[in-house]
Each structure stands twice: as C-alpha cells, then as structure tokens.
C-alpha cells in the first residue's frame, strides 16, 4: 500500500536522500532508525507529499504522491495520520479542538458530536478529558502533548497508516513508556500500519517487527531484529556499536517476556 521506489531528494541542490526503496504492507509495523540529520524526517515528509518535488516514486495505494498537484495530494493525505516531532499542536486552540481538528474542518458534525468523538479519543490515548479538553497545549506536559498529537492524527478519516516522527524524544521514562504503550495498543487494536522514526533503539525493538536504517541519506539496512543483530555490514555495525549493550539487554528481556 505504501512504497518508495528509487526515491532521491535534495534541498537546494544538496542531496539529502539517495535512491531509497522500501515498501510497507497493511498492518505492518516498521521502525526507521539512523543518526540525527540522516534524512529520517525527510522520508516521512515525502510520504505525506509535503515537499514539492522528488525523484523516483512515492506510491500511496498505487498513486505517486510526488507527481501530483497539491489539491490531489490533500485528498490522499487523509489516508495517512502524522505525528510530528514535538507534536506540532495548534497552539492557539485547546487540546480538544486539536484532537477534533479533522472533524471540525472536514465534516458537518455538530459541536456536541465532535466533542463526543474527541472524548472517546482522549480516553483511547489515556488522557482525562475533564482535565485536558479545554486546556491550551502550553498548559500540558510534554508527554500529554505527544498523546494529544497522536489522538489528533488518529481522529482523521480512518488513517490506514500512522507516521510517528520521534514520538518519545525529549520525554522522561514514564511518559516515554506511556507513548510506547499507546503505539503498541494501536498496532493491536486498529487495522493500521505504523512507521515510527526514532533513534532510540530500545524503543524501536519494542514496537516493530521490521527495521530500516538510514545513514547519510542512504538506506543501509532493511530487515528483522535477528538480521539486524547479525548484520555483517560495516556501516550497520558502526551505527549499532553505541547501542550494543542495551540492545542485547532489551533483546533478552523481550525474549523472556514473550515466552509464556
């Protein structure tokens, strides 16, 4: 349903992505990893068609969003939910209005109906609607903002795929755990594929079956956890080296957890 075919991209003639190809099947959970500045966010931006042009094809349900007029892209984007880095909440609207944004903009539901859906969604992302509904994003903690952003993305026109750009970066461990729990819950309960960008390998392992590593704009790895651990590729090993220790630990823990 989503496929990148030989995609290259440049900002002002500076190449950012070089010949990237991968596909994501329905309900698949994929993590994109890589050092800061390697082009991970850019991949998500291209999937959403937020950049004007790119080389190659970015196929959403077989349609190339790269070679499309903005007005057509807008329709296609409704199949995709995006959680931006740091949330990107509308800071002059309340948390409730943020979560109901899609419904308020694109449907004729009454304010009461929207509020019902918003409360339901706040429940799903684990927030107390009495507490956050009328709060401005600034008044909420970072972890709450991130969950509001996830709720906002989910409450659009039945997204088939959710994109998360560093959903846990900058959060303390309990908030991180809550966001990861939410992503796992989503993967279990909804018929949605997920692409999560992160550079926290521990997080990555707990939310994905498949891993992609991008370094300096090049896709250097695409495979499952075992393949990642046993990779002989020099660049993959170089990227993994700082994480090796925690990587092994988490790996064992996950193994134990799965046993019963």
């Amino acid at each position: 349903m989503i496929e990148l075919k030989n995609v290259s991209f440049a900002y002002d003639e500076r190449p950012i992505l070089k010949n990237i190809s991968f596909r994501v099947d329905p309900k698949e959970s994929l993590v994109i990893m890589g050092p800061s500045g390697s082009g991970k966010s850019t991949v998500l931006r291209l999937l959403l068609g937020l950049e004007q042009v790119c080389e190659g094809e970015v196929l959403i349900d077989g349609q190339n969003i790269c070679a499309m007029k903005e007005s057509k892209r807008r329709k296609l984007r409704r199949k995709i939910g995006m959680v931006f880095q740091d949330g990107a909440l509308f800071d002059s609207m309340t948390a409730g209005e943020n979560v109901g944004y899609y419904l308020l903009e694109h449907t004729d539901l009454t304010p009461q109906q929207v509020e019902d859906r918003v409360q339901e969604m706040l429940g799903f992302v684990g927030l107390d609607s009495g507490e956050v509904l009328n709060a401005l994003p600034d008044q909420l903690s970072g972890g709450m903002q991130r969950r509001i952003a996830i709720g906002r993305a989910l409450l659009s026109a039945e997204p088939q795929i959710m994109l998360f750009d560093e959903p846990t970066t900058g959060l303390d461990p309990p908030a991180t755990e809550k966001v990861l729990d939410l992503i796992r819950k989503l993967q279990e309960e909804k018929p949605i594929a997920t692409i999560v960008v992160t550079h926290q390998i521990v997080d990555a392992i707990s939310i994905a079956e498949r891993f992609i590593v991008i370094v300096a704009g090049e896709l250097i790895f695409d495979g499952n956890l075992d393949e990642l651990r046993d990779s002989r590729d020099e660049r993959v090993n170089h990227f993994l080296r700082p994480f090796r220790e925690s990587f092994e630990k988490v790996n064992r823990r996950q193994f134990v957890r799965k046993e019963p």
Binding site: E70, F84, D86, D91
Partner: protein, 276 residues
C-alpha cells in the same frame, strides 16, 4: 615595490563587490518572482472553496478595531501639524481662507492613504508575518497541510480580505479625523471661520480626489497582505528567522507603499486629470 600585489588586491575587492551586487540582484529578482507567484496563488485561492468565513470575521475585527486608536491618533496629529505649518505659510499671502482646500486635497489624496497604510504596515504586517512564521517554525503549517487544509486559503486569504475591507475604512476614518484636526487649528489658531474652512474642504471633495483617495488604500491592502504573508510563509531558521522575516516584512511593505504611492499619483494624474 608592492604595487603589483596591491593592484591584484584592488582587483579582487572590485570583483567581490561586483559579485556581491550580482548575488544580491539575483536574490532580489528571485524573491520578486516568488512573491509574484505567491500573490497570484493568494488571489486564486480567494475565489476557491472552502471559504473560511469565521476567520475573515475574526481578522476583520482584529485589524479594524485593533487599529482604531492608532489611526485616530495618527489622523489628529498629522492633520493638526499639517494645518499649522500651512496656515502660517498661507497667512503670508493673505490666503488663509484656502487652508481647507489644501487640507482637503493633501489629506484625502496623499496623507490619509499613506499614513494609514504605513501604520497598518507597522502594526498588522508585523503581526501577520510573525504569526505565520512562528506557525511555520513549530511545524503547525505542515500539520495543517497534513490534515488536508490549504494554509494559503485558511491563513492568508482571510487576512487579505480583512485588509481589503479595513484599510479603506480606516483611511476614511483617518481622513475625517485629520480634517477635524485641521479644523481646530484653522478656527483656534489661524482664526479662519468655521464655515469658511468646511466650505473650502467641501470644494475639493470632488469625484477625482475621492476616487484616488479610495483607490490607493485598496492597492495598499493587497501589498501589505502579499508581503506580510509571503514573508511569513517563506521564513526559515527558527525563532531568529521569524524575527528577521518580521522586520523585513515591515520595511519592505513600507517602502513598497511609498514607491507605489508615487506611481499611482503620477499615473492617475495623467489618466483622470480632467476630474481633478
């Protein structure tokens, strides 16, 4: 002894200045072209669906009511200052009774539109650029696009329409207040009779003057909206970039208004001379 290297250095400096100028010229041409395309998109978006009426209403209120005190102060002091300067000069010729005519022409044709537009550029253009720039820096614009919303239609168009309505309205207010300011000077300082002043003002309230006086603010409202929105949407480089874009927006809008004012006056004069 060291003549040759000196010449070389001179040459090099000359070249780098030329190159700098060349780069600047290229940037200028590029920006002008970008801004033109952006303006076209804004105008096209104005006629498309959906039309965000609540945003238009909100912006009209914010720009109109929010600028009232500024325009009233501007009008009253500009009118008084201008009347004061001219009443002294006219008294030398024994022509004090013409004060109203001069006020009428100068304010309706030139001062009212220019001062109002400059004040709005300072107050509103900066606000628009800063708001859009901040939304861009915090990725709210991207989020909007991700939700299938056209930010030009949602953010830029309501501000353009609000400016199109409020700049002419505020100009009329500024004109009226400035003429009133002139009236106080005429009656209490220059000792022109009240009837004399107002009938002289009315004398020059003819179609040609009023037409120019209303045509100009409509043009300026477009300029302010185009420049302020363009600078906001094209700002880069985080918080610092927003600050820079805001300054550029006000400076560019003000200069453009002054330059365009000259050309409108010039062109319109040759076109509708018969009505003046």
């Amino acid at each position: 002894m060291s003549v040759a290297p000196n010449i070389l250095m001179e040459k090099r400096r000359e070249i780098s200045i030329i190159r700098m100028f060349n780069n600047w010229l290229k940037r200028f041409a590029f920006q002008t072209q970008e801004m033109f395309f952006f303006s076209v998109r804004m105008v096209v978006a104005m006629f498309g669906r959906p039309f965000y009426f609540p945003e238009v209403r909100e912006q009209t209120f914010l720009i109109g009511v929010g600028s009232l005190y500024l325009i009233i102060l501007t009008g009253i002091f500009a009118g008084e200052g201008f009347a004061l300067a001219f009443s002294v000069e006219l008294a030398d010729f024994g022509a004090k009774n013409y004060l109203g005519r001069i006020m009428s022409i100068a304010i309706i044709r030139e001062l009212g539109p220019i001062l109002t537009a400059l004040m709005i550029a300072a107050r509103v253009a900066s606000g628009i650029t800063a708001e859009i720039g901040a939304m861009k820096a915090s990725r709210q614009i991207d989020a909007m696009r991700a939700f299938g919303i056209d930010p030009i239609r949602k953010i830029a168009v309501p501000r353009l329409i609000a400016l199109m309505l409020m700049v002419p309205a505020l100009t009329i207010l500024c004109d009226a207040i400035a003429l009133l300011g002139g009236y106080f000077v005429a009656v209490f300082i220059a000792h022109v009779s009240s009837t004399m002043y107002w009938s002289a003002v009315r004398d020059r309230l003819i179609f040609g003057n009023i037409f120019i006086g209303l045509f100009k603010p409509v043009v300026y409202s477009f300029l302010i909206a185009f420049i302020a929105c363009y600078k906001g949407f094209s700002s880069t480089g985080g918080t610092k970039g927003v600050g820079r874009a805001t300054t550029e927006s006000v400076v560019l809008a003000s200069i453009t208004i002054l330059v365009v004012n000259f050309f409108i006056t010039r062109v319109v004069f040759t076109l509708i001379k018969g009505w003046l």
